[in-house]
């Protein structure tokens, strides 16, 4: 498969790095050349210096956020994959689960945050639940699409060998679903960090979202940007990691 989203040629990597460098240079030049005040746009060098000087605070906050995002991510993926498998194995469930899941998801997850904070408290648990809620539907839908994509004739072949539903699920359906399942999981990485941060802004004891919120109250915009930089570094590396795993696992693509 040429031109698949998984293929990252050296040229594409080069272009990506070049783009990032250009962006940083323009940003730096703009902020310094126009003498923009830091509440409008601090220079990149200023932000990086901010990250360094507040490394202890930001490190601890990032620890919180990453923990919430990762646990929520794991939970969300388990729920999404589990529901999709359940529906496939017991088609009668489809008529119940699909509308319910769609209804819950027709409202942005943030709308549920007051309830979730009320139920699970201001600590990390509420963030994990929010992240899990936000992801599970995406992973559920992509897994279901993958499981449904299986070739009827391949199922017939397995049946002719005397295979039962479980055997067909394990040897045929799940591997067939993997490409879409993993694509859903890759897209969800960035969302998990975003949802964790947003929920922290609504009430938390720590985390990057909480740091951003506090910094805004103290009118410290360099710190806002420092936290944003750390957050995007975290989500990019998470995205890269899952993308890497995806390429390893889907070697036949």
């Amino acid at each position: 498969m040429s031109g698949s989203p998984l293929a990252s040629s050296p040229l594409a990597v080069q272009r990506g790095i070049l783009g990032a460098v250009l962006l940083v240079v323009c940003w730096e030049g703009l902020a310094r050349g126009l003498h923009l005040p830091s509440y409008v746009l601090p220079a990149v060098s200023e932000i990086l210096a901010g990250v360094w000087s507040k490394r202890a605070l930001l490190g601890e906050a990032a620890g919180y956020t990453v923990l919430e995002a990762l646990v929520g991510y794991g939970l969300g993926c388990l729920i999404g994959i589990g529901l999709a498998v359940a529906i496939t194995m017991l088609p009668a469930l489809r008529a119940v689960i699909l509308p319910a899941a769609t209804a819950i998801n027709s409202v942005p997850v943030v709308a549920y945050s007051p309830l979730i904070l009320l139920w699970f408290g201001i600590g990390v648990a509420s963030k994990m639940v929010m992240v899990a809620m936000a992801l599970s539907f995406t992973v559920f839908l992509s897994t279901l699409a993958g499981l449904d994509r299986v070739d009827r004739r391949a199922i017939d072949l397995m049946r002719s060998f005397g295979a039962g539903r479980l055997s067909i699920l394990w040897r045929l359906r799940l591997p067939t679903a993997l490409p879409l399942l993993l694509a859903g999981m890759r897209v969800s990485t960035v969302r998990s960090v975003i949802v964790a941060i947003i929920t922290e802004m609504l009430g938390a004891y720590g985390g990057l979202g909480w740091v951003i919120y506090q910094a805004v109250l103290q009118i410290d915009f360099v710190q806002v940007w420092s936290a944003i930089f750390v957050a995007s570094a975290a989500s990019l590396s998470f995205f890269g990691m899952i993308g890497f795993l995806e390429r390893k696992i889907l070697f036949w693509k």
Binding site: R153, L157, R159, S160, S167, F251, W252
Partner: protein, 287 residues
Amino acid sequence: MQAAIQTKDMPIAGSPEATAKPSPLLELRAVTKTYGPVAALSGLEASVAPGEFVTVVGPSGCGKSTLFNIVAGLEEPDAGGILRFEGNSCHAADLLGRVSFMPQRDLLLPWRNVVDNAILALEVEGMPRAQARAKALKMLPEFGLTGFEKQYPHQLSGGMRQRVALMRTFLFERGLMLLDEPFGALDALTRAMMQRWLLDVWQKYRRTILFITHDVDEAIFLGDRVLVMTARPGSVKLEQVVDLPRPRRPEIVTAPEFVRLKRTLLDAIEEESMKSFQSAVAQEKAT
């Protein structure tokens, strides 16, 4: 010549009727199959003796694959027909897991390498992987796949993929093998090689084979008997015994007996192809 056949699924020969005359392994009586308004098969009669190599030819869309789906246990025929396997009347579903079926496409799993594709059926049966792999590795040379055991399907040529699919079918040791146009997608040269190779393997393992093809030469060259099917709804129009000696050499296709058989079969097929062509044209006009 059929006395020595014994596969693990067949009852041990020795019951009174089995000693008298080998009862057919598979028997179809008045088998009919309709899909909504489409009648795919109608009153099909056929039987296959143990150890026999029976080829099936017929116009496209006449219900050959439908016949296989029934015998593989994947589809139930309409009520009224009779299906007998190993002497017992049965439902199609009872045949699931008892017939080794090779569908029209190879359907290799892209995430499994050659050996692991070949052992798929053994794994489903519950044989430990190591044991199944060892068994497959021993078979590789015969299937011309030595050195390719670790390759993945996308790395193989069409002929090799077909051989892997055949190996998967052979490893699923059952009394009856169904091969649906296994060489249909191959070029003429590879196809001729594969035909000779299949005869060798068949003679060595003595399986019963039912083989669909579009190619009359192939049907005669391989078969003990050729079944010509009618245009849809399919039934058996002609049953032609091929009494050419075995082993058959490639030159046999120019022998007078071969040419005579070919003439008979082609006439029958042409008649049916005309019918299905005309009905297709008529349908075109009607819509």
